[in-house]
């Protein structure tokens, strides 16, 4: 078989150049810079710096607070990913069945997608206001004193809740379109073979949704790890205090609030490595078991 190719070697390079330049300038260069800084202790203004080797990394490993934040990040990511996928799937399956007023339902579920993370966080701050927040009142009714910004667990709960709420619509849109792309013939065949609706869902619909689900899993893990920054910053009102925070927020707190460039660079390098490992694991292990239609 003859492959179509370029005659000139430089033309493909030229055509790729804009993309490569953008990646180099906005990704490789800062990444290299972060890697370099992570081996130094630097005066923020750039006057002095001391080479410290791996010390920024070993300090982090020895820091109990950093480990606590890492564990919170893992827990937070699992909760947000699981619940935003599960809820979106339930909603999508149900919305798929609605015949009358389907559009209105879908629009109502989708429009939260347009809310920016800091705005979502701000809505959370209002809902959990210590003296008059509607959700605080609701929990009070059940005998629980919600104290956002005071109690570690309560703040964590609010962060998880707001992050899930913000992410459900995105997953909903993808799941719904995934459901609608399942051929009618397959569904009808399943209907003949199996009378149980839940049986049909787990045996037929769910496996056929797997490619969408896998894609969303990656999207949601990255969302929980990185894009929830705005939600967290607004919910802690810019004062970390004894509140829970994720690793990305810690990078910001140490680097941008505290001006510790070396320490926060080491943290960003750790995150880069984490994302790298995550990507490799996901594509190597998970993708093999998934059949794309």
């Amino acid at each position: 078989m003859k492959r179509a190719g370029f005659v000139n070697r430089w033309l493909p390079m030229l055509l790729l150049a804009p993309q490569l330049i953008i990646i180099a300038v906005f990704f490789y260069w800062p990444a290299a810079h972060a890697l370099h800084s992570s081996f130094y202790l630097q005066d923020p203004f750039g006057f002095g710096s001391t080479f410290v080797g791996w010390e920024n990394y070993t300090d982090l490993a020895a820091n109990t607070e950093y480990r606590r934040i890492a564990w919170f990040t893992v827990l937070f990511t699992c909760l947000v990913t699981f619940f935003s996928l599960a809820l979106a799937l339930v909603l999508a399956v149900k919305a798929d069945k609605v015949i009358r007023g389907a559009r209105s339902y879908r629009t109502l579920i989708m429009w939260v997608y347009a809310v920016a993370p800091p705005v979502a966080g701000f809505i959370g701050v209002i809902m959990f206001n210590q003296s008059w927040g509607p959700l605080t009142r609701l929990f009070e009714f059940f005998g629980r004193d919600m104290m956002l910004g005071v109690n570690y667990n309560d703040t964590a709960f609010a962060m998880v809740l707001v992050s899930i709420w913000k992410q459900v619509p995105v997953n909903f849109i993808f799941f719904l379109s995934g459901l609608q792309s399942i051929p009618k013939s397959v569904r009808e065949a399943a209907l003949i073979d199996n009378r149980s609706a839940s049986g049909r869902f787990w045996d037929v619909t769910f496996p056929l949704l797997a490619p969408t689900g896998f894609f969303l899993l990656i999207i949601n893990i990255t969302y929980a790890l990185f894009d929830t920054f705005g939600v967290i910053d607004t919910l802690v009102k810019g004062e970390p205090g004894n509140n829970p925070m994720t690793l990305v927020y810690k990078v910001y707190v140490d680097g941008f609030r505290g001006n510790d460039l070396g320490g926060s660079s080491a943290q960003s390098v750790i995150l880069m490595v984490l994302v790298l490992i995550l990507t490799v694991v996901q594509f190597r292990l998970v993708e093999r078991r998934i059949h794309y239609t």
Partner: protein, 433 residues
């Protein structure tokens, strides 16, 4: 012919305006909301007062964001002429010698008289170096003071407590019986740590509270402050004291709502409180002290922020900066700022002007901050100078939050703060190498 004359005239006018061009300087600050409007007003007043210079104020977000923006700009060679830096960032900006021009040098080089004795006592040395040379020009200066709900205290039949012993034994029980939470405060590191040491004249760090060197060790793990935090947790159990989180506003709101009778806040909060319709009368007085620790309580020092003249600017621009600083210290400017915002006037002359104008007769609480800053000084009342202090404050806030939510003990929390703060201090000292 007529046309070309017009063109020439315009050309000349243009050339003339060029040659008399104003020197424009930029001023990055972190004053949002009403404070931002007052800040812009000062800049406008300065621009209107003369025609040589023009200052352009730019709002850069929170204190932390303004400092980070200033640092990033400096590294890119795009720094503003004036940068506002807050108390906790003082070590960072003063430590980076070459980043700023000492305000004292700047003013003297531009023929402006400078005498540190013109400034009120608690203001003088916070933003100074170890030799007492003023590096940053104090701008919005405040000190923690005690606000109280006059109606609540009257209902409970008590007067504002002078000491914490009085609060514990007399004031708080009476206020609780009258249906109030006696006490809340808005900034544990600032009020109950930094100024706690100053009020009791206790050393807060080695090396003359950090001013004299970089190998500083924090002295926060001491019996006096641990006793204070132990007392606080007891007050919390007895419902004399409530903590509403690390955020400033969360603790101020219950006072404004009339739930909390006594609130420790900033003297700079006065303007905001006075502008609100609270439904009760409020007043203010000095921060209480522990008689068990000292019988001669000393002054507190300033919080807030100072203006730093950034290095690497032309002489003409530095002259403009000096002129703006001179304008800022004018008694009239200071008095106006003091009235609008509640921040203290930084010079004795401005204080005298406010007194002569009868301002404190109509608003006695507005004078408390400056009175407290003018109390007797001690060897530990000038302030502190510690690197990575923003992070040290974050550590304090974290551990204090854990004490007050029962996650840790006072003993463990202070041991942690001491260790982490000393680690940060030693890291900071090596960034300067």
């Amino acid at each position: 012919m007529q046309l070309s004359k017009t063109v020439m005239a315009i050309g000349f006018a243009f050339a003339a305006s060029q040659s008399f061009a104003q020197t424009e300087i930029t001023f990055w600050h972190a004053m949002g909301g009403e404070l931002g409007e007052s800040t812009n007003q000062i800049a406008e007043d300065f621009n209107a007062s003369q025609s040589e210079y023009r200052v352009v104020p730019v709002f850069k977000g929170t204190y932390e964001e303004a400092l980070t923006a200033g640092i990033a700009a400096f590294r890119a060679g795009e720094q503003p002429n004036i940068l506002q830096v807050f108390d906790a960032g003082a070590a960072t900006v003063i430590g980076a010698q070459g980043a700023t021009i000492a305000v004292q040098d700047l003013l003297e080089a531009n023929g402006v008289n400078f005498d540190i004795e013109d400034y009120i006592s608690g203001v003088r040395y916070f933003f100074a170096d170890s030799d007492g040379k003023m590096i940053g020009m104090p701008f919005n200066s405040s000190s923690p003071i005690m606000y109280y709900n006059v109606d609540a205290l009257a209902a409970a039949g008590v007067t504002p407590p002078a000491t914490w012993e009085e609060f514990q034994n007399v004031t708080a029980p009476a206020l609780k019986d009258a249906g109030y939470i006696a006490l809340a405060q808005s900034h544990l590191p600032w009020i109950f740590t930094e100024n706690f040491h100053s009020r009791h004249n206790l050393p807060f760090a080695t090396n003359n509270n950090g001013y004299d060197g970089l190998d500083t060790q924090i002295l926060v793990n001491n019996d006096a402050i641990k006793a204070h935090f132990n007392a606080m947790t007891e007050w919390q159990e007895q419902e004399y004291f409530a903590w509403y989180g690390t955020g400033w506003g969360d603790n101020q709101t219950p006072f404004e709502e009339g739930k909390v009778a006594i609130w420790l806040g900033s003297s700079g909060s006065f303007g905001g409180l006075a502008a609100k319709d609270l439904g009760f009368d409020f007043s203010a007085t000095n921060l209480p002290y522990w008689e068990a620790v000292t019988t001669e309580p000393t002054q507190t020092f300033i919080g807030g922020a100072a203006l730093f003249a950034m290095a690497g600017k032309s002489e003409a621009e530095n002259a403009a900066t000096a002129a703006f600083f001179e304008f800022l210290t004018q008694p009239e400017t200071q008095y106006k700022w003091h009235r609008e915002t509640g921040y203290v006037p930084i010079t004795t002359a401005a204080y005298e002007l406010a007194k002569a104008d009868g301002y404190y007769e109509e608003a006695p609480a507005a004078e408390v901050g400056i009175q407290q800053l003018s109390l007797p000084a001690g060897e530990n009342t000038a302030g502190y100078r510690m690197g990575f202090y923003v992070q040290i404050r974050d550590v304090m806030n974290r551990e204090y939050g854990r004490i007050l939510t029962g996650e840790t003990s006072v003993e463990d929390a202070f041991a942690n703060i001491e260790k982490e703060a000393n680690d940060l201090l030693s890291r900071f000292s090596r960034t300067q190498g």
